[in-house]
């Protein structure tokens, strides 16, 4: 089937999608967007988190056909600078700077989820950060540096507005 979807601001028509495929598979294998990760493919780890019509969702739990006519934003689409530029969203910068990235496999999902948290709540407390990120597993960092990253990103976004 063909799926018409807006991904990272660009209207796309994706052909030859099999009905059983997930949004995650379509993004990764048919659209050249492997940033969303395939760590569990059953909605437990959050590594595939994307915005679907502005709301974070596990792309592995969404059938490709369900995104017909909708808007998807992935980790690749968070940086809003000019194409090819090295501009990153403050959340991405903060993750890289604080040591919140080790193997980095959980990172794209955590960044989308943290991005959403700060959009909704520009000054989250630690308890609010923990609650917001409770669905994103990380096996490397013990989460301490991830808390640092979210605090830093929130500060920077607040300072910039």
């Amino acid at each position: 089937m063909r799926v018409n979807v807006t991904v990272n601001g660009s209207a796309e028509a994706v052909d030859d999608v099999w009905e059983g495929e997930s949004l995650l598979y379509m993004l990764r294998e048919r659209m050249g967007l492997p940033g969303s990760k395939n760590a569990c493919e059953q909605g437990e780890c959050g590594s595939c988190t994307v915005y679907l019509d502005g709301v974070p969702a596990c792309a592995c739990l969404v059938a490709a056909g369900q995104v017909e006519g909708r808007d998807v934003r992935t980790v690749e689409g968070l940086a809003e600078g000019p194409p090819g530029d090295e501009w990153l969203d403050p959340v991405q910068e903060a993750f890289a700077e604080t040591g919140a990235v080790q193997c980095g496999f959980c990172t794209p999902g955590l960044i989308v989820q943290s991005h959403d948290l700060i959009e909704r709540n520009p000054a989250p407390t630690d308890a609010e950060i923990r609650e917001a990120l409770a669905g994103n597993l990380c096996r490397c960092t013990g989460y301490e540096k991830i808390l640092d990253a979210v605090r830093l990103a929130a500060e920077r976004k607040a300072a910039a507005t």
Binding site: V75, A79, E97, Q102, C106, I129, R130, L133, Y143
Partner: protein
């Protein structure tokens, strides 16, 4: 040869930062942008997808395999069985070679690979796989490791069967010490099977090369050791295979054994097409070895004032059906079986055995984790029996520099355990919980309590881990460093085969190059087999070994640069009188003579060096004596918990840790290792276990195998000490594993403190806390 559209590239290390700084990770920007090429992201035009049919039985004879129905599925390009293995039919790490590439006439554990499919679409491959008809004659699995110990000849799961290794340790006279002891305590302990649960699944891409060989892009921990195992099974020479490390999504020991490497290679050679294999989470639970479960019996005797007189210890590790690294895990359990304490009389018997339970091998801590839970539980038990404080009894028996381990090995670098405990004890304790915010309580917003029945506990744990490979293994790493002027700036290219698995080795390599060469711009080449062996990213060894190799190669490059400077600067200065400082060539007498760029011109300086650590010795097979370890590292933990004693729910409130890392090469990196290692120890303490019954895994998913979330992991306090080890590069001490040891017993001790229960098994479950379960006696 076409290279994959998505594949690992070299990374430029941004910014400044030498040894001791915390510069940005060279791969960090790619990782946060979603552009880093992990093994499961690899993609190539015309590639096929591989799938693996696995045994549903822990033990069965194979009576028939019919691949016909699978081959008939449109889109299927190959269906292969053991008959199609081009070379040797078995492989194994550590030259064990007892694991079939694909099962031949028998399966020996659930999930053992039986057949392979390659197809145009992964779902086609999976459906075809289900059509392969395998006839099994199911046998009763051998699942009790102690039964195997009692009858090793009668209960063989394979030819080698029975006992994998028995390593005794004998020091002094335990019987005499027992007669003299004022206090005797004993306990039986059990550790469940822990999974590495790295987030990036086993994945890779095999590409047939025009010369009949193979290009392999795989996430692994040890490229050269993979090659040694892969090549003979594929019937190829090692130099016919080129391996490049694909992005690794965590490892923790679970990628030390092969997973899909040979399988993807077989499918690629057979079809002549690139083949990608990528496990899903369910398959990953069967696709790699786990941490050995352990059954342990300990008896300690001491004087009335708590000075240890003897230890009598039996450790049984269940390695599953194949050898994997069970030999070395057993060796570690034996040599570190009583931890960092001075004990004059010791009898340890550590056993690894074969069963039809899930296969076990390397996981962070490697045999030392299991023993640590038992010996630390014993120290608490002894403290209670002597009426002493748990910290005080540890201090009274603590090793220090000059002490002997159970193996007789003298600790010849700083080991300030007593001081570490004192510093740990002095750290402030967290305030009492605020029950007005449910998120602070055990059970959280599930509203299982509003503070009633919640009791706070505090516990301590100590651990000692060997760093680098032990028992006489010639452990080394290789680095190639190239210095040239690119775009007007001196640039160092660092090339090693060492696996970056997330730990930050790429950052450390760039830091060392900056410090040794005085350049700012460093590029890290992809890890591959076009440079010599780097050894494994395990045993907390890469900063030490590959760090040492990069340092040595940089020193050689620097010497050559200075010789070049001596020649080019008109012979007025000898190379020995010159140095590189801040990107400049300087003479001791005359100051700055020029920049590196001016001296180099268009000259390229390249050097390759191997770094070997000092030799170690084997353990005596009868007495367990020998200087078997390269380096020893200590970490101590304090855990504070709140326990709902009515419901058995535990909230870990805080963990504090003191670790001696010799020299902090990268503070952010070291802190990340201690945080992450402590989190995995927390998992083992209260959450993580692969539950097995009748040889079958009951919880192969992240729905049922729980790893700590950000809600489970508490804030940490760290105190990182730098007492250098003179034998190691920069004095550093490997840091990745030690925190995984001591965090588990500290948390369990804290739960015991809150509940008064014995808790002799990890993970501790609610029923162990609230009921008279066997492990609470």
């Amino acid at each position: 040869m076409a290279s994959p559209v998505r594949s690992p590239g070299q990374v430029a290390a941004p910014g400044q930062g030498g040894v001791g700084d915390s510069p940005l990770r060279p791969d960090g920007t790619l990782k946060v942008a979603g552009e880093f090429a992990y093994a499961s992201d690899l993609w190539m035009d015309g590639m096929l997808w591989g799938a693996t049919l696995r045994s549903p039985h822990p033990r069965a004879l194979i009576t028939s395999i019919d691949v016909g129905p699978a081959l008939a599925v449109p889109g299927v390009r190959a269906v292969l069985t053991h008959e199609d293995v081009p070379g040797r039919k078995t492989f194994g790490i550590d030259r064990t070679e007892d694991q079939p590439v694909l099962a031949v006439d028998q399966v020996r554990h659930e999930g053992e690979p039986v057949a392979l499919v390659a197809a145009d679409h992964p779902e086609t491959a999976r459906r075809a796989m289900e059509l392969i008809a395998v006839g099994y004659e199911v046998l009763a699995p051998i699942t009790d490791p102690r039964a195997v110990l009692a009858d090793p000849e009668g209960l063989k799961v394979q030819e080698r069967g029975g006992i994998t290794r028995h390593q005794p340790v004998r020091v002094g006279d335990v019987a005499a010490a027992r007669a003299a002891a004022d206090v005797v305590v004993s306990g039986e302990y059990e550790v469940g099977i822990q999974d590495q649960a790295f987030l990036g699944p086993e994945s890779g891409l095999a590409v047939p090369a025009e010369d009949g060989g193979l290009d392999l892009y795989v996430s692994t921990q040890w490229i050269h050791n993979d090659l040694k195992q892969i090549a003979p099974c594929l019937g190829l020479a090692e130099d016919q295979i080129h391996m490049t490390l694909a992005g690794v999504g965590g490892a923790f020991g679970g990628r030390e054994d092969l997973s899909m490497q040979i399988h993807a290679g077989m499918l690629a050679l057979h079809t002549g097409r690139p083949v990608k294999m990528s496990y899903n989470r369910y398959e990953s639970f069967f696709g790699h070895v786990h941490r050995h479960p352990a059954q342990m019996r300990y008896e300690y005797g001491a004087t009335a004032d708590g000075k240890l007189l003897y230890a009598d210890v039996e450790i049984v590790l269940d390695g599953g059906a194949y050898t994997s690294s069970t030999m070395n895990v057993t060796g570690n359990a034996a040599s570190l079986g009583v931890g960092p304490y001075e004990i004059p009389n010791i009898k340890i018997d550590a056993y690894g055995v074969y069963t039809n339970n899930p296969p076990c091998g390397a996981m962070r801590g490697f045999g030392a984790v299991q023993a640590c839970f038992a010996y630390e539980s014993m120290m608490d038990r002894l403290a209670a029996a002597c009426g002493l404080d748990p910290v005080e009894i540890r201090r009274r028996n603590a090793v220090t520099q000059g002490s002997r381990l159970a193996t007789g090995q003298v600790i010849d670098s700083p080991a300030p355990l007593a001081e570490m405990l004192t510093r740990l004890e002095a750290m402030p304790l967290p305030p009492p919980l605020d029950p007005s915010d449910l998120r602070n309580l055990p059970g959280g917003v599930a509203q299982t309590t509003h503070g009633e029945g919640v009791v706070r506990g505090v516990g301590y744990g100590v651990g000692i881990k060997n760093i680098c490979f032990s028992e006489g293994f010639d452990d080394y790493s290789t680095a190639r460093v190239r210095l040239e002027v690119i775009g007007g700036e001196a640039t160092a290219l660092v090339h090693t085969a060492a696996a970056e698995v997330g730990q930050g080795l790429v950052t450390v390599k760039a830091q060392i190059a900056r410090t040794e060469l005085g350049v700012q711009r460093v590029t890290i080449a992809p890890a591959d087999d076009r440079v010599g062996d780097a050894g494994s990213s395990s045993a907390s060894r890469q900063s030490y070994m590959t760090g040492g190799a990069v340092k040595a190669a940089c020193e050689a490059v620097r010497a050559e640069l200075l010789a070049l400077a001596a020649r080019r600067l008109g012979g007025r200065w000898a190379a020995a009188d010159l140095a590189v400082v801040g990107g400049k060539i300087v003479s001791r007498a005359d100051g700055v003579l020029g920049t590196i760029e001016e001296v180099l011109g268009d000259e390229v300086v390249e050097e390759t060096r191997e770094y070997h650590h000092r030799p170690t010795t084997a353990l005596d097979p009868v007495t367990g004596q020998g200087s078997s370890h390269t380096q020893l590292a200590l970490c101590v933990h304090r855990a504070v918990v709140d326990v709902d004693v009515d419901l058995g729910l535990v909230k870990v409130v805080e963990m504090a840790a003191v670790q001696d890392v010799g020299k902090i090469i990268n503070r952010t990196g070291v802190e990340g290792q201690i945080h992450g290692g402590s989190a995995q120890g927390l998992g083992l303490a209260v959450m993580e276990e692969i539950v097995v019954s009748d040889g079958l895994v009951r919880n192969p998913s992240f729905t049922d195998y729980l790893i700590p979330t950000i809600l489970d992991m508490p804030p940490m306090r760290l105190d990182i000490l730098e007492n250098p080890d003179p034998a190691a590069p920069y004095g550093l001490r490997g840091a990745g594993e030690p925190p995984t040891l001591s965090s588990t017993p500290a948390i369990v001790a804290a739960i015991r403190d809150a509940t008064g229960k014995a808790l002799n098994r990890v993970p501790v479950r609610p029923e162990h806390i609230v009921r008279g379960a066997p492990w609470t006696a």
